[in-house]
């Protein structure tokens, strides 16, 4: 492939970025520290508050009729539940249909297996350059890092993903990856990394700079890599949703296309995607439809002049099977990744996406990450919620997110030794013997009148022993102290005839 025929000046691709800054997850255990740091960052707070208000307004404007929204949510839920109920069968049907269409299908139980598959395909084609459309599944398995270590460069082509790749960061939102950055941040980033680029805050200029910088990547890459929004088992169709055109370029111009898809995304029929696609674009960015719906059903056929000659689909489990096994937790897999839950979450709006330390932040991240990474690494996440219920109210496929958060808290607090029907990886990560003892003592005292009376007597008489420092409570409030007389005593006195 000749790269020197260009007549326009193309800046040198800043390709080494992904390699120099190996993008590892920050340990999720430090969630509290990161959340506190984010709360103390006024610029970050402002970026997220502005973005959340904007996205909430856009979504609301797309659903002027409450009846239509509720009916569509019912449909979305029904489609996803129907597909999940038949998931093993639909995956086999999808595989059969895709193979008949000429698309190769690979199965990956773990992130490592998925990375291995992509690398093996790259080796088959002696590929050293991959251009990527947006794919959260590839973020989840840390593909860029894996390939970079093996001499294969990945270039993110979604504008937001490109910006965070240049900055050596991770996406802070699943739909708008660079939502935490201001145009000033991006102006400096482009000035530093892209040759002949003066600083500007003009968004049109910045986007044209990004376009120019990435143009060559589409021409030069031997492999295009993308995610998948929906897959139809009946026709063997991969349905990709985007606005920029980088997804179409990545899946059309290179000779090889690899798509990575969480295995839950298949539905029974192409028609079933009609309500889902409407829910997705309206919930995510408040658009009636995105600029491109790109439906891929086969590699380039005989006589066609463009499109990849090899198309691969990697079906990814990576912990999803654990959520599937439990009837209640299975609802987690209904998700269509619109991001509305994070856009409406008071916690996400205040701490931003990076504080979570996981690929998927916000409410959906709190309920999916424990399956991907284990509760031992994520036990604090389900507790980072006031259970206000906003996420469940806006979810286009009616995932009962607050209930699932409570369930995951229960599993994290459960005795690690306790045997349950569907144990979660990391069960009991938050289990505390002293806490359990206190609860047992409490329930014992409240279940036995004699013990309760003794406890009441002791608490009212020994109230002077209440500590004056009560951790977070006394930071802004006076210490808690038991009353000198119990309600029981007061009522008895009142009712006694004078």
């Amino acid at each position: 492939m000749n790269t020197n025929t260009s007549t326009t000046a193309i800046p040198q691709m800043p390709r080494a970025q992904g390699q120099e800054n190996t993008l590892h997850f920050v340990p999720t255990e430090q969630f509290r520290q990161r959340a506190r740091a984010a709360l103390d960052d006024p610029q970050l707070r402002k970026s997220f508050r502005g973005a959340m208000d904007f996205l909430q307004g856009k979504r609301a404007a797309q659903f002027p009729e409450a009846d239509e929204l509720e009916a569509l949510r019912d449909l979305g839920e029904a489609v996803r539940q129907h597909a999940l109920a038949r998931l093993p069968e639909l995956l086999e049907q999808l595989e059969t249909k895709l193979r008949a269409n000429g698309i190769e299908v690979h199965w990956a139980e773990t992130a490592d297996e998925a990375n291995h598959i992509v690398h093996a395909i790259a080796r088959q084609h002696a590929a050293t350059r991959v251009v990527k459309g947006k794919s959260m599944a590839s973020e989840e398995i840390e593909l860029n890092h894996y390939l970079a270590e093996r001499g294969v460069d990945c270039i993110e082509s979604d504008m937001g993903e490109y910006i965070v790749q240049l900055a050596g960061e991770k996406p802070s939102h699943i739909v708008m990856p660079a939502i935490h950055k201001t145009k000033g941040d991006i102006g400096h980033l482009f000035e530093e990394h892209i040759p002949d680029t003066p600083y500007t805050e003009d968004v049109d200029t910045l986007i044209q700079t990004g376009r120019r910088a990435l143009r060559r990547a589409f021409v030069d890459a031997q492999i295009g890599l993308s995610g998948v929004n929906f897959a139809a088992a009946d026709t063997g169709t991969l349905w990709l949703v985007e606005n920029e055109g980088n997804g179409r370029l990545s899946t059309t111009v290179p000779d090889v296309h690899i798509a990575i898809m969480g295995m839950e995304k298949v539905v029974a029929k192409l028609e079933h995607i009609v309500p889902l696609s409407s829910l997705l674009t309206r919930s995510a960015t408040g658009q009636p439809i995105t600029t491109y719906f790109n439906l891929i059903s086969s590699p380039r056929r005989e006589g066609e002049k463009d499109g990849p000659r090899h198309v691969h689909l990697v079906l990814l489990d990576n912990g999803r099977g654990q959520a599937y096994a439990d009837e209640q937790l299975r609802a987690t897999l209904q998700c269509i990744r619109c991001g509305a839950c994070m856009n409406h979450c008071p916690v996400y709006a205040r701490i931003g996406g990076h504080a979570y330390g996981t690929t998927y932040p916000g409410p959906i991240g709190k309920i999916i990450s424990p399956h991907l990474l284990g509760l031992d690494a994520t036990a604090e996440l389900p507790t980072a919620s006031s259970l206000c219920g906003a996420c469940g109210e806006v979810c286009p496929v009616r995932i009962p997110i607050p209930q699932l958060l409570v369930r995951l808290r229960t599993e994290a607090n459960r005795d690690p030794e306790e045997s349950v029907a569907h144990p979660l990886r990391g069960q009991g990560a938050n289990h505390s013997r002293s806490e359990q003892f206190i609860w047992r003592f409490w329930s014992g005292a409240f279940a036995h009148p004699r013990a309760y009376r003794a406890l009441r007597w002791a608490v009212t008489r020994l109230r002077g022993l209440a500590p004056s420092q009560q951790m977070g409570w006394t930071q802004h409030r006076t210490p808690l102290k038991p009353a000198p007389r119990s309600l029981h005593d007061l009522l008895r006195e009142r009712d006694q005839p004078q």
């Binding site: 239509e68 504008m159 990856p177 059309t252 029974a268 960015t285 056929r301």
Partner: protein, 244 residues
């Protein structure tokens, strides 16, 4: 390096099978019926006359920053040729095998060179990216509700024609407009066979990835012109929901 993933496959499917519910809560027939029951009555409230559907299609496209040109069968080619020349287009990629492509090529002034997609992409990739100013395609159909072109690329009008040049010009025959996606999928029987690639296009390429500010021409065409051609015989004769 082995690419045999059959053991992962059997483990993944095995685990799913062990835990799958005995039967889905709804049958596929019931689900299909509820989807139809949602979309069909809503369409009944919206204007079904073709002229009104065209107006909706145009309004949605313009809201998405596309330029809409209304023309008749007799006049569109000359009109478009003139606009292309005025916009400074020098190299136009089009399908010379179809009637519309031939008509446009014949109408082009000398300043605009018509090119056909003669070779596979790998033989002229850099040239395609760097020297073509505009691509002309004929849409298979359209969706009025969302202002969407349904484009099914083929050997003569490959996918990159509507994607790589900075200007995409799409012609759509008004009679092919559907009310919405649900109607198009059913009327065109998508489930009976999909082309290699089918694209729905609802405006020029755009992004809001920098501070929620929309900018056009992210990676695909910076501009989209949609030429809506209405039959000279009058638009009211067309059947609602009909496609071609």
């Amino acid at each position: 390096m082995s690419l045999d993933t059959t053991s992962a496959r059997s483990r993944m499917l095995g685990r799913l099978r062990n835990h799958a519910p005995a039967a889905p809560a709804t049958t596929v027939e019931a689900l299909d019926a509820s989807i139809d029951a949602h979309f069909a009555p809503r369409r009944a409230y919206t204007p079904l006359a073709l002229s009104e559907r065209i107006a909706q299609f145009q309004q949605m496209l313009e809201a998405a920053h596309a330029e809409v040109i209304r023309a008749s069968t007799a006049s569109w080619a000359a009109d478009l040729a003139q606009r292309l020349a005025a916009a400074g287009v020098r190299s136009l990629l089009l399908d010379t095998a179809c009637a519309e492509g031939q008509a446009l090529a014949a109408a082009l002034p000398a300043a605009v060179q018509a090119r056909s997609y003669a070779r596979p992409i790998e033989q002229w990739k850099a040239e395609l990216f760097d020297t073509v100013d505009a691509g002309f395609t004929v849409a298979r159909s359209g969706l009025a509700a969302t202002g969407t072109l349904v484009v099914a690329p083929d050997a003569n009008a490959p996918r990159t024609v509507s994607l790589v040049p900075p200007l995409h010009v799409a012609l759509i025959h008004a009679r092919t407009l559907h009310a919405d996606l649900h109607a198009a999928v059913a009327a065109e029987r998508w489930s009976e066979g999909m082309p290699t690639n089918l694209v729905m296009i609802s405006g020029p390429s755009k992004t809001s990835d920098i501070q929620q500010t929309t900018a056009y021409g992210a990676h695909g065409p910076r501009a989209l012109w949609v030429v809506i051609v209405t039959d000279d015989t009058g638009v009211t004769s067309a059947q609602p929901g009909a496609a071609q």
